[in-house]
Amino acid sequence: MEPLTWSGSFGAFLNPLMLAAIVAFVILFLTNVVMTFAGMRSGDFEVNADGTLVYQRTPMDMVLTGMKYAVLLFVLCCIGYIIAGLTLPTIEQKGILGAMAQRLLPVWIALVVTFALSITFKRKLGLYGKLFDSPIGMAGFGLVMFWIFAAIFSGVFPLVPTHGAIDLISQMRNELPGTPLPNPDEGEYPYYLLGGDNLGRDVFSRVFFGAADVLKITPVATLFAFMVGITLGLPAGYFGGKLDTILTFIANLALAFPVILLFFLLVTPEIVAAGVPQYMSMILFLFPILFFVVLFNSRFHTDPTRRNILVGAAIAIGGVLYLSLISNPSDPDLPLLFRLWPEPFDIFDIAGNLLIVFVSVVFVNSPTVFRIVRGITLDVKTRDYVAAAQTRGEGPWYIMLWEILPNARGPLIVDFCLRIGYTTILLGTLGFFGLGVSPESPDWGSTINEGRRLLTIYPHPALPPALALMSLVLGLNLLADGLREESLKD
């Protein structure tokens, strides 16, 4: 079989159009820059004698309009590729782009549904709905949702990937994008859409399995970092004094520790054998339980039955999860402390490396969250409603968790988005140094690391995960920007 072309049979029509859009945009952009330096400005409204307004068009306006249409044409071409990919009957006609668009069909449907619903009901959806008023926020949200849906349709329902994450076909080693399989079985996808990597695995499928891997770890790790940071930052800001001095000193210590050195130290096999990451996880994962217990206790301590139920549930559920998480009785290499929890109650085990990655990412992020929460608390605790609560005789933890924290949510939500992006970058850094989840893991950092050895000869295995990581982080940053802008408008 012939290798696939990039754009299939409709490319003859769409490719020149797209090229024209790009060329037009670049030319017009350069003209715009030159005109700006030459001192030309956009036109202005002028009031006529009879009270009507006239807009004076200048060449500058025409250039800007041209740029707008070039961008529009480009977007239309992109949609054209997707539609052509969905409608044309055979893979050969679809080409690589069209075939990819067709594999991503569930993602497109989910995206369209999400956007349609959100935009219809945006006035009833609070801050989330306001996001759809800002083009930047919408673009960011679209990118993030694309990767979330792609992760769901790869990790949970494997509809997008064409091959398994670790299925290898040795003849397909380093083959270029669109290469057909040597002798495909019945029902097997007959092409490697984005080529094969240095072991002969499908790059396209691995990028999407990688998305599932990355999006499984980073939001959870960020959430844990936030719980640690909030549980420590609130009292530090609220009580001040010695407690604040000590906690701030510890946070500064952790911040002054070079991230990369910490990673290398924590991941070294000898240090893992000594159980250092396990002890750290023992401390770090205690905070979420602490957080929920204090949260419920401070709110419902006047209603003992309800308090007892909620606190009891938090301790029971949290406790079992906590003990199953930190201990692994079947692993004889661990120190005795982590093998005490009986095997039948050990609901799940986290593979050694995953726990280490998780712990290091939480450890690196929580001091920054601590500082942010502490700063906001210092600001919010001078407000009148805090004074009112104090006069009512509310306890300090009630004030911190039910008065200050809800009022600090705006900046925290924005920072949460940014921090997921940063965590994704950190996770990629770990993978890049070969310290990632596992050697075969399709996560983006590890894939880039594998691809970079032959980068100048075979660029295709390393480029897709790199672009994927970039677009996800970019989406998160844009989303955070849009949220910040919209929440400031209130």
Binding site: F257, P258, T429, G445, R452, P459
Partner: protein
Amino acid sequence: MGAFILRRTGVMILTALCLTFVVFFLTNLFPNLEKLAKTQGNARMTDEEVVSWLDRNGYGGPLIVRYGEWLGLVPGWTREDEATGEITGRCIDFGMDPADAPTRCGLLQGDLGFSTVSDDEVGNIIGGRLLLTLKLMGWAFGVMVPAALLVGVLAGMREGSRLDRSLSTFSIASTATPEYVSGVIFIVLLASSTAGLSPLLAEWGWIEGRTLFLGSARSAMEDGITFWNFALPVTTIALYGMGYIARMTRASMAEVMTAQYIRTARLKGVSFRNIVLKHALRNALIAPFTVIMLQFPWLLTGVVIVETLFNYNGFGWTMVQAASNNDIELLLACSIVAVFVVLVTQLISDIGYVFLNPRIRIA
């Protein structure tokens, strides 16, 4: 001011002690020492032999005493071999008369120890590597800071304008592109002989070599720095840090432009160019100064990534090698340098902020 600097320096020394102790503790955990004994001595040692080897080579005492020895506060260990009467010790180099050896040798005496993997004094290795990294960081900073300030000031001087929107999007995109992504993209686009622009340009005869830039900075170490071999690593580092500084500068500039005195100047009829250059710029650059100084620790991670990606054997590369080869003394020295860089830049940023901002006075 004097008391402030003194207090800050005190906190800094305390932080440095804590951090180095943490690194010392982590690198001197028993499994690490066991591996060291087995690589230095014999791979098939029994557990007792490992303990006795460690004891013989000064790894036996309590951790805090060994930390003191490494710092140079506690006299180095000495040990007399019962059979031969030969005296060995931490401070006694091979072939040195024990009577001449100093009693203390550690960080404070400028003795960083001996790298077991490279078979050389740590001080010699670190010095040369640091110089290489300093060149890389210097160039990166030289590109990054002016570009970031320019982008930030241009974006912030007319908040909400089209220029602001495009430059802000550019800054966001640059903060979303970590070094290992931009490095890969740059290499593919500009330094690959089969993909990107280079084959095209070579075909047209616009470039002499096979690639536009070199995808490895190895030649920059020996033959000196040229645009051809150093442009990509420098751009890669500069790009990631740039967006953040630019956004901070933009926020600061936008805030200054809404200040009352700017409005007064505008109402007096001062031209926009003069308002930006003479009235706004200096005040707008106070906040980014702190951010720029605090970028150094970030740059450190970037340097490690870029040196690995572009095969440049500087400090970051040394750190990676030391960590993966269990080279304890070298790793400790690297961490000292890293911690020192972080803390000194924090101190400079604090002091500089007080100096630059006349509104802050510390008694």
